[in-house]
């Protein structure tokens, strides 16, 4: 989808912007935030994906100069780790529903502090670096899902307790499926993992 999009970067950027605004409409927010599963496993990933697509629409040379300005791959990865973990806190989830500023922070940070910097960093990450990002993500998802399943209390005041358990199961299942998919790409792609690094890729990380 991304490859076809980038034939018309201007039009794609416009479509992406419209989609971003659509997600921010009260109707979309109400529906996507009505259940914990949709909030965590649909809305938040979509916001990250918006950041990913936005970064891919940026010309390669600009991406490189941005990456240098940000100090290379690792600051970007670290920012993404912090921002993505923050929105996994039950308290942050509740805050997004009750505090408009938290909602704004969520809509800004997930695309621009998670998706966007990850794409910038990705080309410069070695296989080990990518493996770190992936496995960290899988384990975070699995552990949090498991916590949601076994938690004796309702962790979010805004969500029903069985919604929490469902979200937990979806997270565990998603992490297992994603893990096997990633493992599969490692085996099939001759050990380079999904989305092979380009020529300037492995071995030339900035950090």
């Amino acid at each position: 989808m991304i490859a076809t999009l980038s034939h018309h970067p201007g039009r794609s950027a416009l479509a992406l912007g419209v989609f971003y605004l659509l997600l921010a409409t009260p109707i979309a927010r109400d529906w996507l935030e009505a259940s914990m599963s949709r909030h965590m496993l649909v809305q938040m990933p979509l916001l990250v994906v918006i950041g990913i697509i936005a970064a891919r629409l940026v010309p390669g040379r600009t991406q490189d100069s941005l990456l240098i300005r940000f100090g290379g791959a690792w600051p970007c990865v670290i920012a993404a780790l912090f921002a993505s973990s923050y929105w996994m806190l039950p308290r942050a989830l509740d805050a997004a529903l009750t505090d408009p500023w938290a909602e704004v922070a969520k809509f800004l940070s997930l695309p621009f502090l998670v998706g966007f910097p990850l794409v910038l960093a990705w080309r410069r990450l070695t296989l080990i670096g990518r493996g770190f990002v992936w496995t960290n993500f899988f384990s975070m998802l699995a552990v949090l899902g498991w916590l949601y399943i076994v938690a004796p209390v309702r962790v979010c005041n805004s969500y029903l307790v069985n919604d929490q358990e469902n979200a937990g199961w979806y997270m565990v299942i998603a992490s297992v499926l994603l893990f096997f998919w990633w493992l599969g790409t490692l085996l099939v792609g001759g050990g380079v993992g999904p989305d092979k690094p380009d020529q300037s890729g492995p071995g030339r990380t900035f950090a």
């Binding site: 100090g71 290379g72 600051p75 912090f82 973990s85 923050y86 039950p90 309702r154």
Partner: protein, 204 residues
């Protein structure tokens, strides 16, 4: 500065900023849920409450402000509730029985507030109250009829009520203590009835 050095420097900066945001967002790594956050915040700064109009199990109209000068234990219920609110009734009864007789009603009172005013008319409130020995004076079971007032009260207490799929509600349940100045000053877990009563006694 070399790129490697810059990278390390910015990484350190991003890490400290990220840690600070986590520290700030969780009250110093103590409150990871909104429920804990609500309790921590109340302890730090007791919160003023709106003066709402209530109706008790005897149909008597009164105001939250009427309790100023007394310590007041508050919980939130709906009488159709078959799970937590039942134990809430038992817990409130237990707290009442732990407070010295001479202070009851004079310096300390209990108030169970229903957030389901449509169903919980005085008759239903009375039924609930009788099940646990709420007398309607020391311990009142009441509803807030005005929707806007009810919401402002729930907001001030930090109670979020959401309908469940069985026609009832799910809500955060806790023991609340309102001070003599009418401010919410303590929120504790419902399984901490004895420490809660001890706190009350210490303040009498």
């Amino acid at each position: 500065m070399s790129l490697a050095k810059r990278s390390v420097l910015i990484s350190a900066l991003v890490t400290s900023l990220g840690t600070w945001v986590f520290w700030w967002g969780t009250d110093g790594f103590t409150a990871f849920t909104a429920e804990t956050a609500r309790r921590v915040e109340i302890l730090r700064s007791p919160r003023a409450l709106p003066d709402v109009t209530l109706e008790d199990q005897n149909g008597k109209i009164f105001h939250l402000k009427d309790y100023q000068g007394k310590l007041l234990a508050v919980d939130f219920i709906f009488t159709r509730c078959t799970t937590l609110c039942r134990s809430m009734g038992m817990i409130f009864k237990q707290i009442r029985d732990l407070i010295p007789q001479e202070s009851l009603g004079r310096d300390f009172a209990l108030l169970s507030i229903s957030f389901d005013p449509e169903h919980d008319d005085p008759a239903n409130l009375k039924k609930y109250g009788e099940a646990y020995g709420a007398d309607g004076q020391i311990w009142r079971i009441a509803r807030v009829q005005d929707k806007a007032e009810l919401q402002s009260l729930l907001d001030a207490f930090g109670i979020i009520v959401i309908p469940d799929q069985f026609g009832g509600f799910e809500h955060n349940t806790a023991l609340h203590l309102v001070g003599r100045d009418g401010r919410l000053r303590l929120i504790s877990d419902i399984d901490k009835a004895i420490p809660f009563a001890e706190q009350v006694v210490a303040l009498l």
